[in-house]
Symmetry: C2
Subunit: 256 residues, 2 copies
């Protein structure tokens, strides 16, 4: 077993903390990383305040293989992520020539390239750009920290462009076993028995309550496909023996 490849994520923006905006970037990034064998281990949501961004970036970048940030790289007064990341690393902050060239190419007309838009080319010294095929202004990488836009469509495009720069580990595979007719409290001992019998497998237990019936989704995870299949079949058998309706319903190539 090699060491797992891990990641942290810092979501930057008052709009998430006020409840105005529903964050979806966490789920997108988590699934994208999981597909590549990179385990998201921690997320922090912080406001547009430099000291808070610095504390989150410096608190996480040493703990995980990679650290991603989203938000705060636009042209307005509340976009302080780039300056804050420079402060976190103790790096000079200023105009990035290649970023400026990309902005000039994107906007074309000089009158559109306002001082505010040009300020999106201000980055920590030594930043490596992250392409933005949607709206021109690039993100950037410093060391193991990847600074991306907050708008989901732009964030996703930036993330896709990072694929060649990231080294993943063994993908975590998942199978979901459904359980209907028995609740979590009825099957808890069964789950522990399956965990004991299949030590390389983890199980997450997620009750659901829906129109049409409630039940429990049991998500088995592991990196070894035959071991995972055996554990899922064993669990479904044991649940049926308890009197539940149970089946292995989802076989996913990605982390669930």
């Amino acid at each position: 077993m090699t060491d797992p490849v891990t990641a942290g994520l810092v979501i930057i923006g008052d709009e998430i903390l006020s409840g105005r905006t529903q964050d979806t970037n966490t789920a997108t990034i988590a699934a994208w990383l999981g597909d590549r064998g990179i385990q998201l281990r921690e997320v922090r949501v912080v406001p547009d305040v430099e000291a808070e961004i610095v504390a989150a970036v410096n608190g996480l970048r040493g703990r995980y293989t990679y650290l991603f940030t989203t938000g705060g790289i636009g042209p307005t007064h509340d976009d302080i992520t780039a300056a804050s990341v420079a402060a976190a690393f103790g790096l000079p902050f200023g105009r990035h020539a290649e970023a400026e060239a990309r902005l000039r190419a994107h906007y074309g007309d000089e009158t559109l390239l306002t001082p505010a838009r040009l300020s999106m080319a201000d980055m920590p010294a030594g930043a490596v750009l992250i392409e933005n095929p949607v709206s021109g202004a690039p993100g950037f990488q410093i060391d193991n920290v990847f600074v991306m836009a907050g708008v989901p469509k732009i964030m996703r495009a930036m993330l896709d462009s990072l694929e060649p720069r990231l080294t993943g580990g063994a993908p975590v595979l998942a199978r979901t076993v459904t359980c209907v007719g028995k609740g979590e409290g009825d099957i808890a001992a069964t789950l522990e028995a399956v965990l004991a019998a299949h030590p390389r497998i983890g199980i997450g237990s997620y009750p659901y309550f829906r129109a049409g019936g409630s039940g429990v989704s049991l998500v088995l995870r592991g990196t070894d496909e035959p071991a995972l299949a055996a554990a899922a079949a064993d669990l479904a058998d044991r649940l049926r023996a308890l009197g539940a309706d149970s089946a292995v319903v989802a076989i996913s190539p990605r982390s669930e």
Copy 2:
């Protein structure tokens, strides 16, 4: 001006970090707190690992007026929040008599009250219960930390039941000014001028890209209603003078 009333939030669960489950509790809690004049300042999402839960709880509970947690209080092996919160406070962990009584009343039939379900009555010593009108098993409060369920419907019911225990501050009011026809980079200087002219108001700038057109939503926030109204009108006027279509479109009693 009195000190603001603040809150932190710890979201506990591998299912959020794997991307399997889209968290919605953050937005619900943020808006609910904002309505009551309590400002959510930081969120951490951590896995079902005791050391991580302890670190997050102890890292945040001293920084904010209140700390909320969601997730990990069910009956299965991955529900370790209650034991972890006891560890964070250095408190004994064991059966809570009133919680046990509520579970017995909820399940009625002794055969349904399995050892796993009964384990949901294990809490840190001195815990004050949080009612669960949906599924019986209570949450709990220790000091300024409120431990709630992760299932959104149950979490919301627990949150509503907390209203009498929380003391809010001055609610943060919000108005949204729309801007169509000019982008963030065209209006950044105008936003700074409005901030300078209305020092008690904050402005968040949120570009949107939708079928039917893109634009910028400008969310003004403050606790003084006349000052907020004046700033919103001033901003809309200045944007129209720049050639944008602009209007004050949303007047909200709650933080946005």
